[in-house]
């Protein structure tokens, strides 16, 4: 409390605080001066008044190329291939330097179809390379700019370049295709239809140089990606063995993309999951799951989590693979995302059979899930709530009473206070089923009291006023079924009473561990 004195009047404004302000002032002034210095070499010193756009892009044209746009057009349309090459290089340079790239100017000048023609010039791989590079930069722009490249029918020529003998050209073509296929489901499917998959797989199976392998894997993963709609399974299933063999690569970036690729492929119906399992993916995925690198953990969790959305047999194969002990570590990760995804994956297992639920319990994962439910961020809490709610749906009475003993009631109750109808319903359903499970032969129900202690009853009472019909019906149902006789009135804050005898916030029994008295 001694520090509080600094909050009184201006007591905190002492000579040290003043010196700190002076020091910060110097640092601030220095930063401005230094940034200006660095900007000088970049030809644009920050100024308050922005030049009109036309003027500044004009400057870029003049300063950074040896050819202006009209000259470039002439050169590229020339019948002479050497002149074409010079024009294309100038064009590529124009599209590679500085900011505010004049992509639209190049498109409006009608140069894109010409660049596509150059892609077909098998007699001059240098020209092909420069043209692919220029197109890559155009395709990396806005969707309209990407469209200009696709509409000039570049795709088939680019795919053809994948079998070029010149590695640089191949790589450039991949890059360009990646920009196109990555633009959305439409161009993704168009690339697949154009037959991109096979040459890519062929390339990857012939151990190309590292940068090529990375880029090809990235593009292959992009081809499998997307949900609205997913690519048709027939079109992409051949990628599965390639991804599985890439899991053994020494290059982390490649592996990360390969796992993501697999996770897209097994996202969905039974046969997708089965195909990935059949390709022998589970064992290497579990190895990656145990990796300390979070960029690997995340897609591995996603992948295995997808596999356990399958039927009981498929789920069982993952349970048997030794993945569960690793989840204990993942749930304790300090990366919120890892914890969230882990809870999600486990929620798919707790939606399974009672022995599968028991496996989760036996690996001591429930306390960690309850902890995630209590103190994770909201998205983690949602997944954890699902994981536990699923146990109340399909678990035995014994299993339900176990998770209650691990303290799941309070954090479930706390979520009732959130501004999210879906999760309120999940928690209420779970609480309802826990209440059902708690009914004793003599008609008493200890759960009622614990719920009260956790502040659950008053929250559920409030939910009777919820705008969502389903929620208020559910609240009504719970209250009528389990709390019919009690009708407590809300007295507001009690008048303080220091002479009170004693305080007792105890919850009866059921806890394991704890301390002894």
């Amino acid at each position: 409390m001694t520090d509080r004195l600094r909050d009184f009047k201006f007591k905190g404004r002492d000579s040290d605080a003043a010196r700190n302000r002076r020091r910060e002032n110097v640092v601030e002034l220095r930063r401005t001066s230094k940034n200006e210095q660095m900007m000088k070499r970049r030809n644009f010193v920050a100024t308050d008044d922005v030049k009109p756009l036309g003027e500044s892009s004009q400057n870029i044209l003049e300063e950074n190329t040896h050819m202006d746009l009209p000259q470039m057009i002439v050169a590229m349309q020339s019948p002479d291939i050497a002149t074409n090459l010079a024009g294309t290089v100038a064009c590529r340079k124009l599209l590679s330097k500085g900011h505010n790239l004049p992509i639209d100017n190049v498109i409006e000048a009608g140069l894109v179809p010409r660049l596509v023609q150059f892609l077909a010039r098998d007699d001059n791989s240098k020209l092909q390379y420069e043209a692919a590079w220029a197109l890559t930069n155009i395709a990396s722009g806005t969707s309209e700019q990407t469209t200009a490249v696709v509409e000039a029918n570049a795709l088939p020529y680019l795919i053809k370049l994948l079998s070029s003998n010149d590695e640089d050209t191949v790589e450039q073509a991949i890059w360009c295709i990646g920009n196109i296929a990555g633009d959305g489901p439409h161009y993704r499917d168009m690339s697949l239809t154009a037959g991109l998959l096979q040459p890519l797989i062929y390339l990857l199976s012939n151990s190309p140089k590292l940068s090529l392998q990375r880029n090809a894997t990235w593009v292959l993963a992009n081809l499998c990606r997307g949900k609205n709609p997913q690519p048709s399974f027939e079109a992409v299933q051949n990628a599965i063995p390639t991804f599985v063999s890439l899991l053994a690569s020494d290059d982390q970036d490649t592996v990360v993309d390969a796992v993501w690729g697999l996770s897209y492929l097994c996202d969905g119906e039974y046969r997708r999951i089965q195909a990935v399992i059949d390709a022998g993916a589970i064992a290497p995925l579990v190895t990656l799951l145990a990796s300390p690198v979070s960029q690997l953990q995340l897609p591995a969790i996603r992948c295995l989590g997808n596999l356990v959305t399958g039927d009981d047999m498929q789920t069982q194969q993952v349970v048997d693979s030794g993945a569960l002990p690793i989840f204990a570590r993942l749930l304790a990760s300090h990366k919120e995302n890892i914890r969230k995804e882990s809870c999600w994956a486990l929620s798919n297992i707790t939606a399974g059979t009672q022995p599968q639920i028991q496996a989760v319990i036996d690996h001591n994962l429930i306390p960690l899930i309850v902890k995630a439910l209590a103190d994770g961020d909201f998205r983690t809490q949602k997944e954890a709530a699902w994981a536990l709610a699923n146990i109340t749906t399909s678990g035995t009475i014994h299993q339900i009473s176990y998770i209650v003993g691990q303290g799941c009631i309070k954090p479930l109750v706390d979520l009732l206070d959130r501004d999210d109808s879906k999760i309120i319903l999940v928690c209420m359903d779970a609480i309802g089923r826990i209440l059902e499970a708690g009914k004793q032969p003599d008609g008493s129900n200890p759960v009622c009291e614990w719920l009260e202690e956790a502040g659950g009853v008053s929250l559920i009472e409030q939910l009777q006023d919820h705008e969502n019909e389903e929620i208020y019906n559910k609240a009504l149902e719970i209250l009528e079924t389990h709390f019919a006789e009690e009708d407590e009135e809300d007295t507001g804050m009690l008048v303080p009473d220091a002479s009170g005898t004693s305080f007792n916030f105890a919850t009866p029994v059921l806890a394991q561990g704890g301390f002894d008295f």
Binding site: R13, D14, V26, Q37, R42, E171, D375, I409
Partner: protein, 864 residues
């Protein structure tokens, strides 16, 4: 030896400086010659009940200093030093200090602190793992004495509190025994001292016991215990228990819902109403803490909503619910104060004022509306305590509520309030002056109205001549007012004006500045922080002066220079003199800094030479045994460098030795930091002309970077200074490349490695990355020359630049600040410009996407 050691320890407490000095030399020598024997002997002295308590305590402190020094954290070298001692010595030391527990006089045990220091070193090494269970056994044993229990409990509390900052998991296994033992002592032990010590240990262990606290059943038990402890008859125990509740609501706000209405709320309100002043303060502190937590939650929730996310945690609005009971009690507490209060004592009245401010910020309008009647009713009360309570209340409720409401009320109330500026009570005057400052800060435009300003300035002028505690508030008020006047004028600038030519204070500054000069000459200026505040007001007056007051700036600088001249030549004799002169010096230099920044080139040129000479005198004087004076002199020099730009060249030779010397002061983080920045600024402003000085600067900068004891904030500053040197001398920087690349590679490793959620660490890492990227940018731009082209020198840098690219891709996966994103984009741009497509293969496309995404998402305009 033992008698000699005791003598040295006694001498180290002597009033005679020479004796103290000799003693500490002797002790240091002993330590260096035989660390293990030295520490063992100290431990025996601490244990020796025959010795005078002061000597024992001094032995304990020496022992603790030899273990962990005065640092908060255990450093690697502390571990090494301890582990270097023989096993036998270590065990003997431990045995002696554990044996000391319960034999010391006084309320805090030095042995307990030493035990904690050793435990903090050993436990993370997986050694002395049984210290906590053994201590718990000891304090729980029926045979233990009262003093043993108290000291043992203290030791446990220190250990759990400290270990929690490192890794609580190391001791979690003992949490249950710990809680069980403590609670049994609280409920059963006959001694109030033991009970109090047990509650204090519980307080220290609350964060450590997080797992127990997260378990509902265990939490219920703990909470019942603590709440019941507040009902214990012993006042000390009660207060300590409420203190626990304060800590709990701070640590576990999310979990206290079940206890609020029936436990925490009635307990704290009753405490505030009680007549035990310590209990009142703790009760109030509870609500200040709740309010602060809720303010933070609301801020975080607002931010989350701005990003379109659902907030993770939301405020439960306990404060709102408690206002009705709380506010009347707080307003009453505001008046609980003595005529002769100590300014530095935290009283009930001050606690209530601070709490009110937090509640106002937390709950807004309801607090304001409930308090205004109290303010009106008591402003003219015949009891000064209630007049003061009225002013304190008003000044503390202005920040929270809707500003329109507050502004309207303030506008009406200002002139009547000023009427009370001549209150017979100094305390009331003090509060009035402070409240005026709050208003100047929040609503300068109200104060600057032509109809009001003269009365305000009149009241301020009177206040400046009143007691120091009143005058200091006027100085703060003036700081806010001059800045406010400047900002108001800046907002009203015409389209073609770039500078504030005139403002509402233009005609008054001519009176304000001299009044402040008079204030710094007061005989009692050293009281109540008045000196520092008056100099700060002077500096602000110059910093925010409009152009039509330029002659005042010149006059002020002349006056400051002549004061500096006479101060620097004065000789000082006593320790106290030295401190006083250091304060004067810092004050004068701070005014000079802002003055220099306001001076035009021509005027600056005329005085630059004499300022340099003065600063050299200051820097070479041994009279100011204070690193802060050196720092202020260097900052002043910096202002001069930035002002003179390349014209500073003739002075570089003169000041360089001092800059280099200051960079060598790596253990004084602030001094070193400022000096490093200054070296960079000199190079940047001088450009190529700094070439002859670069080897000296670079040498010292590299030394500082590699010094093991260097304050970590210096490192990014050094890297950033490399940028200045490189850009200043261009390709000539080639001579330093070998060694610089080496340290950059090491620093890159450090800037990627740790993945830590700790905010300070993240901030530091981002500063380090900023420094690194600046250094690399400087090097690439320097070696590429004016035309930014691929030079042979650059081509040879391939492997190092590959390292740079790897570094950039790795940090892209971490939390990057806007600054780092901006510098990364710039770096990629520079590299592409220079190398063209050759760098393509080295950059993962994902990286560019991530970077681009981050840059676009950045709120900072320049980054985008």
């Amino acid at each position: 030896m033992s008698a000699e050691l005791a003598r040295a320890l006694r001498a180290s407490l002597s009033a005679d400086a020479k004796a103290r000095h000799d003693a500490s030399e002797w002790l240091e020598q002993y330590k260096q010659s035989n660390r293990g024997g030295f520490m063992r002997a100290l431990a025996l002295e601490l244990q020796n009940v025959e010795r005078n308590q002061q000597i024992r305590q001094q032995a304990g402190l020496q022992l603790k200093n030899s273990l962990t020094g005065q640092h908060d954290n255990v450093r690697d070298e502390d571990i090494q030093n301890w582990m270097m001692i023989s096993h036998e010595d270590r065990e003997a030391i431990k045995q002696a200090i554990v044996g000391t527990l319960g034999t010391e006089q006084g309320t805090t045990s030095t042995a307990a602190q030493v035990i904690a220091a050793i435990a903090l070193i050993e436990i993370p090494q997986n050694s002395w793992m049984d210290v906590v269970p053994n201590l718990l056994n000891m304090v729980g044993a029926a045979a233990a004495s009262e003093a043993q229990k108290v000291a043992g409990l203290q030791a446990v509390g220190y250990i759990t509190d400290d270990i929690t900052k490192i890794n609580p998991d190391l001791l979690t296994a003992h949490a249950n025994t710990l809680l069980t033992t403590i609670m049994r002592l609280i409920s059963e032990d006959p001694s109030a001292h033991v009970k109090k010590a047990a509650v204090a240990t519980l307080n220290n262990s609350l964060e450590f016991c997080e797992q127990n606290f997260q378990n509902e059943v265990e939490r219920n038990t703990i909470m019942s215990f603590i709440c019941n402890a507040t009902l214990q008859p012993e006042a000390d125990v009660k207060v300590a228990a409420i203190q626990c509740l304060v800590r709990i609501v701070d640590l576990y706000y999310e979990q206290v819902h079940a206890y609020m209405r029936e436990g925490l709320y009635p307990i704290t309100i009753a405490a505030i109403q009680s007549d035990n002043m310590d209990a009142v303060k703790q009760g109030i502190e509870f609500w200040t803490t709740v309010a602060d937590v809720e303010i933070e939650l609301q801020d975080a929730a607002d931010e989350a909503r701005d990003r379109g996310e659902t907030p993770e945690h939301t405020s439960k609005h306990y404060c709102q619910g408690a206002l009705e009971q709380l506010l009347p009690n707080l307003l009453k507490s505001l008046a609980v104060q003595d005529e002769d209060d100590d300014e530095d004592e935290f009283t009930v009245s001050k606690a209530a004022a601070v709490c009110l401010a937090s509640l106002s910020e937390c709950c807004g309008d309801p607090v304001f509306n409930a308090c205004v009647p109290f303010v009106e009713q008591n402003l003219a009360n015949s009891d000064w305590r209630f007049r003061d309570a009225s002013v304190l209340a008003f000044g503390n409720i202005l920040r929270g509520p809707t500003q329109e409401t507050v502004k309207a009320v303030t506008n009406q109330a200002l002139l009547p309030l000023l009427g009370f500026a001549q209150d017979p009570s100094t305390i009331v005057q003090d509060s009035l002056a402070w409240m005026l400052g709050v208003i100047c800060d929040l609503f300068p435009d109200i104060v600057l109205q032509p109809a009001v300003l003269p009365s305000v300035l009149g009241a301020m002028s009177q206040g400046l001549q009143s007691e120091p505690r009143v005058a200091v508030n006027v100085c703060h008020a003036l700081c806010f007012l001059v800045e406010g006047a400047y900002m108001v004028a800046l907002d009203n600038l015409g389209q073609h004006e770039e500078e504030v030519n005139t403002n509402a204070l233009s005609s008054s500054l001519g009176q304000i500045l001299p009044a402040l000069f008079t204030t710094i000459d007061r005989d009692d200026v050293m009281e109540s922080n008045l000196r520092s505040a008056a100099y700060e007001a002077l500096a602000a007056g110059l910093q925010f002066s409009p152009s039509d007051c330029y002659n005042l700036v010149i006059q002020a600088i002349e006056s400051v220079l002549s004061r500096l001249q006479s101060t620097v030549t004065m000789s000082v004799s006593s320790q106290d003199d030295m401190r006083q002169f250091a304060e004067v010096m810092s004050g004068l230099l701070s005014v000079l800094q802002t003055g220099i920044r306001r001076l035009g080139q021509q005027d600056l040129q005329m005085v630059a030479g004499s300022i340099v000479e003065l600063l050299v005198q200051v820097l070479s004087s041994r009279q100011y045994d204070s690193s802060s004076v050196v720092e202020d002199a260097l900052v002043t020099l910096d202002a001069l460098v930035e002002g003179c730009q390349a014209n500073f060249e003739p002075f570089v030779e003169r000041v360089k030795p001092f800059v280099l010397e200051a960079i060598r002061q790596v253990q004084h983080g602030d001094t070193c930091f400022v000096a490093v920045g200054l070296a960079g600024d000199i190079c940047r402003q001088l450009g190529e002309k700094c070439l002859p000085h670069c080897p000296d600067f670079m040498n010292e900068l590299l030394q500082a970077l590699m010094a093991s004891e260097v304050d970590r904030k210096v490192k990014p500053a050094v890297l950033s200074a490399f940028n200045d040197v490189a850009l200043a001398i261009g390709p000539n920087f080639g001579q330093f490349l070998g060694v610089v690349f080496n340290v950059l590679a090491q620093a890159s490793q450090a800037a990627v490695d740790p993945e830590d959620d700790d905010e300070d660490t993240i901030e530091f890492l981002n500063e380090l990355r900023t420094g690194l990227l600046e250094a690399y940018t400087g090097i690439v731009q320097a070696m590429a020359g004016e035309s930014m082209q691929l030079t042979p020198a650059l081509s040879e840098m391939g492997p190092q630049l590959q390292g740079l690219l790897n570094f950039m891709m790795q940090i892209a996966e971490r939390e990057m600040s806007d600054e780092v994103v901006r510098l990364s984009c710039g770096m990629i741009g520079d590299l592409s410009q220079v190398f063209g497509k050759a760098i393509g293969p080295y950059l993962a496309p994902q990286y560019l996407q991530v970077l681009n995404g981050r840059a676009i998402a950045s709120a900072d305009e320049a980054t985008r």
